[in-house]
């Protein structure tokens, strides 16, 4: 590894910037902005990501008006769907919903309209609505590649809605289809052009094929991993790496599933080289024995060095390492967060077994500062609290609050029995999710009198 080493997403960012400079039609500009936003978000550069999504929304709104002036209603419906997607990525739920409904008035027979509807609903955190929309898309699909895309979208929404069984069947069907003779031409074309870029708004069949195969295999692998089917999970993650050797999700997963420490550290090193700024990767990595002997000058190696320095309490050295990285990546929130951590000298106490709101808030705020020993203790400790679930009474819950402190599960959980939204939860604390909510592993639930 060298100091000039590129991050995995550097190539996609360069490609999108080139596309924006070269092609000026609506779809090229819109997909460029959306993809740049996604790539920036994956690197934890939220301000840059929001700027791109805002540009995408402006483009789509302009296109809507132009299409209406020219009485081109199919184009209008398409632009309206993309305006909704951009609004959803900006967290503007009401606006996104109104736009999606508007698009559906004109194009309820168009599967792509429903696919975009499903995507926006997932982004806004409404998996059951995403499932309903994705089913409409699947039902109306005509072309095999479209069907595979919509099935993948449906499977993704189903996983988030807590229906992993149906999702697994869909993902197996999708991945087998993509590897079948039916898609041999696209596969050969992708190989001939050495196409490996992964985009969320892919233009053209080949780009869509490459991205879809990557995402579908990752999702299927994740389903297997959660089931404890580790061999099949490893096989799927390896298949992802056959298509793209620097896929950070697959590398991090293989590190998680490694059979020995050497293999684990090797995969983590490769994952950090691919995306040094993934907070999920950093959280996972810090739950392990962070390697103290870090070699290399690349960004990934420097990030692992900073984490090792923080782990052993050498904050001065960590600040120097992080400051050097911040000069190269000044907009990066991951670096800023770690830099703040390196500034503070306070230690974090683990909560009591029946934690108070203050204890949980302190833990959430200082989770990154826990020592390896504290993390090991936390992993093995069961806590009990009265919780207030979001949603309706029933047997399936995914999030809620403990004394006002938000929490969520990694996926919706089905409990035995029927419970009110106010109940007593036994749980383990896994970490801190996006948005600052505590990520909990439910162990049991009791009704309250």
């Amino acid at each position: 590894m060298t100091a000039q080493q590129r991050l995995a997403s550097d190539f996609e960012i360069a490609q999108m910037e080139s596309q924006l400079a070269r092609a000026h039609d609506f779809e090229a500009q819109l997909s460029g902005r959306l993809n740049l936003g996604d790539l920036r978000a994956a690197r934890n550069e939220p301000a840059l990501a929001r700027a791109e999504y805002t540009r995408a929304l402006t483009l789509a709104e302009h296109e809507r008006l132009e299409a209406r002036r020219e009485s081109r209603l199919t184009r209008y419906a398409n632009a309206t769907s993309y305006a909704a997607l951009a609004a959803a990525k900006l967290g503007r739920g009401t606006e996104a919903f109104a736009l999606l409904e508007e698009a559906a008035r004109y194009a309820s027979d168009d599967p792509e309209t429903w696919n975009l509807y499903a995507s926006a609903m997932r982004i806004l955190g409404h998996p059951p609505k995403a499932v309903a929309a994705a089913r409409n898309a699947v039902a109306a699909a005509v072309k095999p590649l479209d069907l595979a895309i919509y099935r993948h979208a449906l499977a993704t929404a189903l996983i988030e809605a807590g229906h992993a069984g149906e999702a697994e069947r869909l993902l197996v069907a999708v991945t087998e289809a993509l590897r079948s003779e039916e898609f041999a031409t696209l596969r050969r074309e992708a190989a001939r052009q050495e196409s490996f870029e992964i985009y969320d708004s892919a233009r053209g069949d080949m780009a869509a094929y490459v991205s879809l195969l990557n995402r579908a295999q990752l999702r299927l692998a994740s389903v297997y991993e959660k089931q404890g089917n580790l061999e099949d999970a490893r096989r799927q993650y390896q298949r992802v790496l056959e298509g793209r050797t620097d896929d950070v999700t697959a590398l991090a997963a293989l590190a998680r599933l490694a059979r020995n420490e050497e293999e684990r550290q090797q995969h983590y090193a490769e994952a950090f080289d691919a995306n040094p700024f993934s907070m999920q990767l950093i959280r996972e990595y810090r739950r392990t024995d962070v390697a103290q002997d870090v070699q290399g000058e690349g960004t990934g190696a420097q990030m692992r060095l900073a984490l090792a320095q923080l782990q052993r309490g050498d904050r001065r050295a960590a600040r120097a390492t992080l400051d050097a990285l911040l000069t190269k990546f000044p907009s990066n929130e991951t670096l800023r967060s770690l830099r703040r951590e390196a500034e503070t000298a306070t230690s974090v106490e683990l909560p009591a077994l029946h934690p108070t709101a203050i204890e949980l808030r302190t833990l959430a705020d200082g989770f990154e500062q826990l020592t390896a020993g504290q993390r090991a203790t936390l992993d093995q400790t069961s806590y009990r609290s009265e919780v207030l679930f979001a949603g309706a009474p029933g047997n399936t819950f995914s999030s809620g609050t403990i004394d006002g402190i938000p929490f969520r599960f990694s996926e919706p959980t089905i409990f035995n029995g029927t419970f009110g939204v106010h109940a007593r939860l036994t749980y383990r604390i896994l970490g801190v999710a996006e948005g600052g909510a505590l990520l909990l592993e439910p162990l049991g639930l009791e009704a309250l009198p």
Partner: protein, 326 residues
């Protein structure tokens, strides 16, 4: 661009404004509140998406958060309901309120005691003659309910953009086909169909429908940038005798090149002689007659206007504005 794979990011609050006219005044849902000016202001929903009222109660729907809040008009007493997924519409059957949960595919009674399964994509709800009618858009099915079960069901063309009932006839608009279809709800049989304009999206009833006059439909066509006025069925018997629509009355209000609706209008609403049209793309509200149109307001939210007994009310960005049109 026809390929898209999804990612998960973040969500945050935003507000909409929804209005409905009642016997006691205009009720507005906004900023998490529901208000009847000068009477009461109560806690509402985060994302109001629709509102219905009868002479005693108003119901505000939040299709994004699966919530409904029912408020008594006289005292502002509220009942909050957690609905099945995506309550897209509601209707009163007598004094009983029913909620249409599109993604949950259920017709729910307000008490929660009744939940009637429906066909795929039930997107529209209307009441007539003591029955509820649901149009399932993707399935292409009209389902009739007595409020406890599905009593009758019939197949129609899928993917309509509007479904309205008047005089025992259901009218459906099909924008892709440039066509209206009608269904006789007494016999549950298709009446007929007629090509209308380029992209007929929304329709309303603009008078007629008496023993002597045929019902007049106002049809919003954003591609033609016109509101078409078309003569609908007068009665079931006459509909059979005359065929469905006798034809368009004139050629529509305006020509595309010189339209007074520059980006077209896609919604029409009527109340007696008051006719308004709305353009979702430019958020402009118009009043129209057989002779012409005037802009009433700009930057009006999609559900932020309502016809009142005397005119039209709309959300002007800070408060409810109202103008008399009679």
């Amino acid at each position: 661009m026809k390929r898209l794979l999804a990612v998960l990011l973040f969500a945050g609050p935003a507000f909409a404004q929804v209005l409905v006219s009642t016997d006691r005044g205009v009720v507005v849902a906004r900023d998490g509140r529901i208000e009847l000016a000068g009477r009461w202001s109560v806690e509402g929903v985060p994302h109001p998406t629709a509102m219905v009222a009868n002479d005693e109660r108003v119901c505000v729907l939040d299709a994004l958060d699966d919530l409904a809040v029912i408020v008594t008009l006289d005292r502002g007493q509220t009942t909050r309901i957690r609905t099945a997924s995506t309550p897209i519409a509601a209707a009163f059957l007598g004094s009983e309120l029913y909620l249409l949960a599109r993604d949950g595919r259920l017709l729910q009674h307000e008490s929660g005691a009744i939940a009637i399964p429906l066909s795929a994509d039930p997107a529209f709800l209307a009441a007539w003659n003591g029955r509820l009618y649901v149009y399932a858009r993707a399935a292409g099915v009209i389902e009739e309910s007595d409020g406890e079960r599905i009593t009758r069901r019939m197949n129609v063309a899928p993917f309509a953009s509007d479904f309205e009932i008047a005089g025992g006839v259901a009218y459906l608009a099909y924008p892709r086909e440039a066509r209206l279809r009608t269904v006789n709800l007494t016999s549950m049989k298709t009446n007929g169909e007629l090509g209308v304009g380029a992209v007929p999206v929304d329709l309303a009833f603009a008078g007629g429908g008496t023993a002597l006059t045929a019902r007049v439909l106002a049809v919003a066509d954003p591609a033609a940038k016109r509101v078409w006025l078309a003569e609908g069925t007068q009665s079931t018997a006459e509909a059979v005798a005359r065929g469905f629509l006798r034809g368009l009355l004139g050629l529509g209000l305006f020509t595309p090149r010189d339209s007074q609706f520059p980006t077209g209008v896609d919604r029409v609403e009527t109340r007696g002689s008051i006719w308004v049209a709305y353009d979702s793309s430019s958020r402009t509200l118009y009043r129209f007659t057989r002779k012409g149109s005037v802009v009433l307001a700009r930057n009006v939210p999609p559900h932020g206007f309502a016809l009142t007994p005397r005119g039209v009310a709309w959300w002007d960005g800070t408060s409810v504005a109202e103008t008399t049109l009679r």
